[in-house]
Symmetry: C2
Subunit: 162 residues, 2 copies
Amino acid sequence: MTQHNELDRIDLKILATLQDDGRITNQALSERVGLSPSPCLQRVRRLEKLGVIKGYSCHIDLERVAQTITVFVSVSLSSHEKGAFGAFEAAVADIPELVECHKVSGQFDYLLRFVCSDIGTYTAISDHLLATGPEGLNLSSHVVLQATKESKGVALERLVRQ
Amino acid sequence: MTQHNELDRIDLKILATLQDDGRITNQALSERVGLSPSPCLQRVRRLEKLGVIKGYSCHIDLERVAQTITVFVSVSLSSHEKGAFGAFEAAVADIPELVECHKVSGQFDYLLRFVCSDIGTYTAISDHLLATGPEGLNLSSHVVLQATKESKGVALERLVRQ
DNA sequence: CTTGAAAGTTACTACGG
DNA sequence: CCGTAGTAACTTTCAAG
């Protein structure tokens, strides 16, 4: 089965535009990418069906909604035997305050990001994790003091060479 | 001047819904939050003007667009004298591959996230950073091997108690 | 790919409770 | 604050070039 997953310049421009303004109308989008509305909409639907566009969301300024803290946690497992990684991932999977979990190379094994209502909540989470997670779990917590740069997305033009 | 920044249950429901589906129509949104379309739209516009909603975007499955690597970098500055933090932030500010930069507490001072087209690009960036950044810069790189959990947003209901 | 047309939705505004 | 209602704009699908 032949795959038709190739993206041309226009597709990339659509993606970059929608990444910048996810609620742009199809008409405005079509003008920006130099197409008429119908083929533009066709491309957007195709990108959605292919899974290239995974979804849409609004960006919320959390500070204006509630007091929260963001905590990055580097995790190292003393045991790298079979099951240790799975046990850890299972232990964190259903924590609603966990926003991201990445397995990484380097001095530690995982990097987590939590968003909690307060330090107490985070403390309870990390305590619970140490109690229920695999043996030899080592957590190192880093509370975010200031977000110097917050991503609105990646620079697609730099990541794809045509 | 009195501020009217308070958010009620309906506002939070609007935010949670738009966080989950940023392209939902106002009509569907109004049904979900139990309002008729016009007051619902009024609230959305108010949230946008207040800056609670900072914008909208689509989520792109980068793997389907181009081969990329994500690298988390923990940074420590040997000098915490005046100017050291500013010098570092200035050095990283304009790197397009830098997606996030957080000043954090704990064993290191900053946590960065880069998305690059390949390791070579990242290496060039970190080399350049070490060359142009402040003295005593210590970088520790962590290439993301697998994203175990990727955030679609925060759990607003858990962060705000009404 | 484009244009253009037609039908269905939606957004937006103004007005009234 | 809410809802109703009307208009303009947009989306979506179609056919034809």
